[in-house]
């Protein structure tokens, strides 16, 4: 019975003006709550989840676009400048969405399990880290011994050129890795990519001698940000100043700028992915994923198509790498560990391998779990530890709770649990990929008995 009622309810909220009302109510409630309680995680979740209402409920496309743009380009920057922590969370969601969308091409479409995906991210990041910092003049110094006041190698607006160079560099790295190993299938490919990811990280760690390219484990800093037009800050302050509550600084606006750049990259990735997917290339990828032998017998050049998937996925990661280097002004090998690759893979699998909205949802969920929920729990536990509270009945004083029990350190457990639970209960992901339906004339032909 309960199930029946639920169906009726879902039908009802998808009819007439209800979808628009519900979406707007969700959005307005979320935004108001965040605005009134700038520190509440729950309010923030409610606001972010209004993207889901916007996606899932049947509203006109124009409504979706306008509301989505308003939320992403106006409301989030304002809320984000008000409380910079939220902007950081949103920026991370965007970065990981972009990475997950890139990996989705390799894993979701072409079915090639890549366990070293962040290597391409590292290539992009170190590319701008080297050319956008003073590192060129430090080549002959051991880490930590360089003189101060070195000039920057390139002007900061070269950042934009390097976004494009990173596409090429990462794609070439993808082809370089792919050429020898793409003849391997399944598990073997996964092992080689895992190794490759580690090789890049270890290279970054050790390429501080004989010539100091990467500054070793200390990482490269400072890296230049692209120039910020002063008008941007002024306009933002004069238009949104009274909503923000304080005057936005240049640093605040940089965060907004990088968030918007990440959004632009995501939109480009989505358009490119969808177009490729609806073409002979996308069909070839899916065919390879479904049955390699049949695919090659149908005339699909396996190696060429797999390389294309690898290079496309890699180039997206390369772009995000440059963005990361610019926004953080600091790059070190730690950011490109095996755990990062697994994290991105978890997002793809959680959301739905091969599904664009699914992958974005996966990236958002994992990032929020990581940055907000686990850390929120940690904070809560440490507050309990400092209090005199005691659990009744078993007489356990929170003070005695071990410091080892810090949820923020349980990221790996989280990834593992997500992967296991998804594989058992919902291997197709939260929003499974759908095949595109075509308008076919032959569907209208009468069936003769």
């Amino acid at each position: 019975m309960a199930n029946f009622d639920l169906n009726k309810l879902t039908q009802k909220i998808q009819q007439g003006v209800w979808p628009i009302i519900i979406t707007l109510a969700h959005l307005i409630l979320g935004v108001t709550l965040v605005y009134l309680n700038p520190r509440s995680n729950l309010a923030f979740l409610l606001m972010i989840s209004s993207f889901l209402s916007l996606y899932a409920l049947k509203t006109p496309v124009l409504f979706k676009l306008v509301t989505g743009a308003l939320l992403a380009l106006v409301i989030i920057p304002v809320i984000g400048v008000r409380n910079i922590f939220y902007l950081e969370v949103i920026f991370q969601i965007s970065v990981f969405s972009a990475l997950a969308l890139g990996l989705n091409i390799v894993v979701g479409f072409a079915g090639l399990l890549d366990l070293g995906y962040v290597a391409f991210y590292a290539v992009g990041a170190y590319l701008w880290a080297f050319f956008g910092s003073q590192q060129y003049y430090v080549l002959h110094f051991a880490p930590g011994t360089q003189p101060s006041n070195l000039p920057f190698l390139l002007p900061s607006d070269m950042f934009y050129l390097f976004i494009f160079l990173a596409i090429i560099a990462a794609a070439l790295t993808g082809i370089l890795l792919g050429t020898p190993v793409l003849r391997l299938r399944g598990d073997y490919l996964a092992i080689v990519t895992l190794g490759f990811g580690e090789v890049i990280r270890v290279l970054a760690n050790n390429l501080d001698k004989p010539l100091n390219f990467t500054n070793g484990p200390q990482g490269i800093t400072p890296i230049q940000k692209p120039p910020m037009p002063p008008a941007f800050v002024d306009i933002f302050n004069s238009v949104f100043g009274r909503f923000v509550g304080h005057t936005a600084s240049v640093a605040d606006m940089y965060n907004v700028m990088f968030y918007i750049y990440a959004l632009v990259v995501i939109i480009i990735i989505i358009v490119v992915t969808r177009r490729l997917n609806d073409s002979k290339i996308g069909r070839a990828w899916t065919a390879i994923r479904e049955d390699e032998t049949a695919a090659i017998a149908m005339g699909i050049p396996l190696v060429k198509m797999k390389l294309a998937a690898f290079a496309t996925g890699a180039s997206f990661a390369g772009v995000m790498g440059v963005l990361l280097a610019g926004s953080r002004t600091f790059v070190s090998p730690e950011s490109f560990s095996f755990m990062q690759s697994i994290g991105v893979l978890t997002m793809v699998i959680l959301g739905g391998s091969g599904s664009i909205p699914g992958v974005i949802l996966g990236a958002a969920t994992v990032t929020i779990l990581n940055l907000q929920i686990l850390q929120g729990l940690s904070l809560y536990l440490s507050q309990l530890r400092q209090s005199d509270a005691v659990i009744p009945i078993i007489n356990f004083a929170w003070k005695n709770l071990s410091n080892q029990l810090d949820p923020a350190k349980y990221q790996r457990l989280l990834f593992g649990l997500i992967l296991i639970l998804m594989m058992i209960f919902r291997p197709e992901g939260l929003i499974p990929a759908k095949r595109q339906k075509r308008e076919l004339a032959s569907d209208k032909v009468e069936v003769k008995g």
């Binding site: 490119v272 490729l276 069909r283 070839a284 032998t293 017998a297 005339g299 076919l440 032959s442």
Partner: protein, 265 residues
């Protein structure tokens, strides 16, 4: 005109010679069956023709050009299509997408056309979609274009495999046990379809088949394989009475018995 010609083709797996000095030729527009007991090397021979295995010795010429050493996708591009003994569809793609994948080597859209959605791309997609629908109707698939291939019944999946193989406009289609597992009605429909492939599309048909009713009904010529080589060739009537063939299928005793029966008659 000879479409396909193999001379002394040998394919070994370790110590086992699966195809042994296979000499075989096929005229344009023929319907030919290859029969033989299990393990005779029929499917291995198909796999050497389509480039999945490369033979250790011998030559293979298709359309007067050697296709030896080409990759399977290059051979498909030259005009040899195939179906598989166990259905190998792209199960999670729709029926029409399966057929469009079959068209892959004939599509000329470049990455630029695709990324910018240029008119050339849109035109090619709509033309190929129409062509795919024609092929679906040709093989007798109706109203299933948007179904996932895995959701079709067995007979339907067999048809999709044939449709996918036809999509690339091949000159030669290789069918590996295409009626295995079909009921008599489905088998009859299949035989009619294979004839129409040759009659209406002018495609040469080469099939491996175990069902003797199919073989005798459809073939204009039959080649019999045993121990990796050709042991007999001829029209269905010749093959039916060939003692070597009977021996390969039924054992030496059967041949002797048949002679006795004939002698008594």
């Amino acid at each position: 005109m000879t479409l396909l010609k193999t001379i002394d083709v040998v394919k070994r797996f370790g110590g086992l010679t699966a195809v042994n000095k296979m000499n075989f030729s096929l005229e344009k527009g023929e319907i030919v069956s290859i029969i033989g007991p299990n393990g005779a090397g029929k499917t291995t021979f198909f796999n050497t023709l389509t480039g999945i295995y490369s033979p250790e010795e011998g030559t293979i010429e298709f359309d007067n050009k050697s296709i030896l050493g080409l990759r399977p996708d290059q051979i498909a591009d030259r005009g040899i299509s195939r179906t598989f003994q166990n259905i190998r569809l792209f199960s999670n793609m729709t029926v029409i997408e399966n057929i469009l994948v079959g068209m892959h080597p004939r599509l000329t859209q470049s990455s630029l056309d695709i990324l910018l959605r240029l008119p050339a791309f849109k035109k090619e997609e709509s033309i190929s979609e129409k062509k795919a629908e024609e092929i679906m109707l040709f093989v007798g698939l109706k109203n299933v274009g948007n179904e996932l291939a895995k959701n079709l019944p067995y007979g339907g999946q067999r048809r999709v495999e044939v449709a996918r193989a036809l999509a690339a406009n091949p000159q030669l289609i290789l069918l590996d046990e295409p009626t295995a597992g079909m009921n008599p009605q489905e088998t009859e429909d299949a035989i009619r379809l294979f004839r129409r492939i040759r009659d209406e599309k002018g495609i040469t048909v080469l099939l491996i088949e175990h069902d003797m009713r199919v073989v005798m009904n459809i073939s204009e010529r039959i080649s019999v394989m045993d121990y990796g080589g050709l042991i007999a060739e001829g029209t269905p009537a010749e093959i039916r009475s060939n003692p070597q063939v009977i021996e390969a299928y039924l054992g030496r005793g059967a041949v002797a018995n048949q002679h006795e029966v004939k002698a008594v008659q």
